[in-house]
């Protein structure tokens, strides 16, 4: 167990390192950051001088070496645009990001699991059919469209909720609905098909044959087994939400990590991009590890050496 853990953590660090290296070399393909730091009447000489000052005229490998040696000391450098360091900028977004991602995932699960289980239990019923249509639409509606429509209805027409921002509880409602529409739909479908799979295993048939009530079969056995797949998906989605709620963050001007990352990319503020990717890769890998360890706890059949 311990050996396994050490091995996985070691692998995790390699993964994060590779992701960073990939991003580092890709920056040279993404374009010149210096031109976006100077006004449009800057001359070629001014641009060249700034490039030299910031070290962008060194060879790629010199820059890479410098980057790695600094990063190993935990220094990702100053932002090219803002007065703060890249790490300060990324860390300042973490609370908002976590807040949105965690609440969205929890709400999604609370909505999705009952729907999924009931759908599976009463397969083909009117509830199931309505659930299928609703969940399909939930996944088929682009987040930005739904978000803006919610604003139009709840903020502009009814004037019930603020258009966006962060601070109070009511700032959260519309972004959470937007995210939940998609994720709850996905979780619900996932739950439904997993529960269906489980209900058809010999194990459940035996349970039924033993005369256990349908309710007991469903909750005690089926759901428990389905939880493994749900946890896997959960880990994956949470990881994606941390960096990937860009659209929702943009529409509702939520000051999260995804928006920071996209803005930094468009502005070619590469130190911030590296730091953001580093953070996301780290969380991602940790979640993966946590999910694998969870298997160990939930499912006695799985063992790691």
């Amino acid at each position: 167990m311990q050996r396994y853990l050490v091995k996985r953590i070691f692998q995790m660090l390699i993964v994060v390192f590779l992701a960073l290296t990939a991003v580092f070399f890709m920056q040279f393909l993404a374009g010149d950051p210096v031109i976006l730091l100077l006004p449009m009447d800057a001359t070629f000489e001014e641009i060249a001088e700034m490039r030299e000052r910031l070290g962008f005229d060194d060879s790629i490998f010199v820059q890479y070496f410098r980057f790695v040696s600094r990063a190993l000391q935990g220094d990702f450098g100053p932002s090219l645009r803002h007065p703060q360091t890249a790490i300060q900028l990324v860390l300042s977004r973490v609370p908002a990001t976590l807040e949105l991602a965690l609440i969205a995932v929890v709400v999604s699960l609370l909505v999705a699991i009952p729907i999924g289980v009931i759908s599976a239990a009463f397969r083909g019923s009117w509830f199931d059919q309505v659930a299928i249509v609703v969940t399909v639409f939930g996944q088929a509606v682009p987040g930005f469209w739904l978000g803006i429509m919610l604003i139009l209805f709840f903020s502009v027409t009814l004037e019930w909720l603020p258009t966006g921002g962060r601070g109070e509880l009511n700032n959260l409602i519309l972004p959470i609905i937007t995210l939940t529409a998609f994720y709850a739909a996905r979780f619900a479908r996932m739950t439904r098909s997993t529960v269906l799979d489980v209900l058809n295993t010999d194990y459940i048939r035996t349970a039924r044959a033993k005369g256990l009530s349908e309710r007991r079969v469903l909750y005690k056995h089926a759901l428990r087994n389905a939880s493994i797949s749900i946890i896997t998906l959960l880990g994956l989605q949470l990881g994606q939400l941390l960096g990937g709620a860009v659209v929702t963050e943009t529409v509702f001007y939520w000051p999260g990590l995804g928006r920071l990352l996209v803005q930094s990319l468009l502005n070619r503020d590469f130190p911030v991009v590296f730091t953001g990717v580093f953070f996301i890769a780290l969380v991602h890998a940790t979640l993966n590890l946590a999910v694998d360890l969870f298997y160990l706890v939930v499912d006695p059949r799985i063992s790691y050496d």
């Binding site: 006004p39 641009i47 000052r53 703060q84 803006i148 004037e159 258009t163 921002g165 962060r166």
Partner: protein
């Protein structure tokens, strides 16, 4: 199922309890598409950074809001001693937000700070001809330049003065996050990507501002910004597109206030590569072939003024003798044939940014359609903004590209930057024109300057390095109760605002 309805009605109850209540505070919230980069003056100035900075700091000189003529601000007057020497007389008794006095020292410190390469100030290039700032007495400074610098006054309208003691003691990073200036608003708080809050400076030298607090709130998505304006969460936004004017005007609390801006939009006709674009006749023909008025009417919904030549009518250097190219497709076809081409043989790529200028992509597509009518094949290539700039800098655009330029209040800033061969964002170059511009840039005598730039404008008009499009009209979405008139120089100053009772 019953439980479900109970939960639902509880939820609705909670929502209705949480609903927005609009408190009538004496504050103005300005919604912008992006957050400021820094609050340190002169470090970077894009619009989103400039807006808060111009409320916290003061420049030496400003422009009259009606005539756009130079008027004194922190400097009450000035005198040109010779081609290379300017003297400025400063207003007395002005204080920074921290109580430090404004004086000649602050002016010298600011210019020196900009010109020190180690400080990596984005605008150093604009001030580099100033080699010394000499302190004559507490309220008199002399600028010595290495070359004649008639553009100095224009530069100083956006030269915001720093507090020397504060910057020296706390350093640039601290001063960037906690700025101190002489301006009408004192910095309170900056929560990145949420808001910049400032409150009025009671001791402001021009009088206490009417509005108590000014807040800048970045809202990147356009539809959300409009929604926030319509419901009164924010009070001012820039750049309402023409098609939304009616909607904003019909809002209970909102209206659109427009003003012709000094910013111009144009299509560069790139003559750096061999080909038809090197023919003056072809370039002129393209000006005849594009129906600019139709574009203004049907793409911009009327919110622009067609221009003749490269400068807008509110640019003081504009030559009023020029008339816009008329729309004349037959003449265009004839001219292309005279130049030895057949319109149907011509095939161009038009590079356009997306969302940088009013309806930019739509304009590019409409121009392509218009040129297609006389047989020219134009394909539009839409680029992300950084990529668009990369293409222009690397001379890697199609034969045409769309760009906007402003605020533009002099001929040099526009013509030198955009039509001289070795300038960064130029799409055009002719050696004789380069020489003429270089000569004109050094002139200080107003009459000689006028004459030189008029001549250049006429030649440029004839050479047609652009399809001359229009000067933009800035359409501001404003809360109807706010007493504020937009300015032609794009500035949004809390000091000029007040709430109607």
């Amino acid at each position: 199922m019953k439980r479900f309805w109970i939960v639902l009605s509880m939820l609705l109850l909670i929502i209705s309890l949480l609903t927005v209540s609009t408190v009538a505070a004496n504050e103005v919230i300005i919604g912008s598409p992006a957050d400021a980069r820094t609050l340190f003056a002169m470090k970077f100035i894009d619009l989103a950074t400039h807006d808060p900075i111009s409320n916290i700091y003061d420049p030496l000189i400003t422009r009259d809001r009606e005539t756009m003529e130079y008027i004194g601000h922190l400097a009450k007057g000035w005198e040109v001693l010779d081609d290379l020497t300017w003297e400025f007389y400063l207003n007395e008794g002005i204080k920074f937000h921290n109580g430090a006095p404004f004086n000649a020292e602050a002016v010298k410190f600011t210019i020196d700070y900009i010109n020190d390469p180690d400080n990596e100030m984005a605008y150093r290039g604009r001030y580099s001809p100033i080699h010394t700032v000499e302190i004559m007495d507490e309220y008199t400074v002399r600028f010595h330049t290495t070359e004649p610098m008639p553009i100095l006054l224009d530069r100083l309208t956006s030269c915001y003065i720093l507090e020397p003691g504060y910057v020296t003691e706390f350093g640039e990073t601290h001063a960037s996050l906690n700025p101190i200036g002489t301006g009408p608003y004192k910095f309170v708080e900056w929560v990145q990507n949420q808001e910049i809050v400032m409150e009025r400076f009671e001791d402001y030298w021009m009088g206490t501002p009417e509005v108590e607090r000014v807040i800048f709130r970045p809202i990147p998505e356009f539809s959300t910004r409009v929604a926030a304006l319509l419901v009164g969460e924010i009070h001012v936004i820039r750049d309402v597109p023409g098609h939304m004017v009616a909607r904003v005007d019909s809002g209970r609390r909102t209206e659109v206030r427009g003003i012709p801006s000094s910013r111009v939009n144009y299509i560069a006709l790139v003559n750096f590569q061999e080909g038809p674009m090197q023919s003056k006749e072809v370039r002129q023909a393209l000006n005849y072939a594009v129906n600019v008025q139709e574009l203004i009417d049907f793409v911009l919904d009327g919110s622009a003024t067609q221009m003749a030549g490269p400068l807008s009518v509110i640019n003081p250097d504009h030559d009023p003798s020029l008339e816009p190219y008329p729309y004349d497709p037959e003449k265009a076809v004839q001219m292309i044939r005279d130049a030895g081409y057949e319109p149907t043989q011509l095939s161009f790529t038009l590079d356009s940014p997306d969302g940088r200028y009013p309806q930019d992509r739509e304009v590019a597509m409409a121009i392509a359609d218009q040129l297609r009518e006389i047989g020219i094949n134009v394909s539009v290539r839409v680029n992300e903004w950084g990529t668009h700039l990369d293409r222009i800098i690397n001379r890697n655009t199609g034969e045409m590209f769309l760009l906007g330029w402003g605020p533009a209040f002099n001929a040099q800033g526009t013509i030198e930057s955009l039509m001289v061969t070795d300038r960064t964002y130029s799409g055009f170059g002719l050696s004789w024109l380069d020489e003429m511009v270089a000569k004109a840039v050094g002139l200080v005598d107003p009459d000689e300057m006028r004459e030189a730039w008029d001549e250049i404008q006429q030649l440029v008009y004839d050479e047609a390095p652009w399809i001359f499009l229009w000067q933009q009209h800035d359409l501001w979405g404003v809360n109807s109760d706010l007493d504020w008139t937009p300015r032609a120089d794009e500035r949004v100053l809390g000091f000029e605002m007040r709430w109607n009772d």
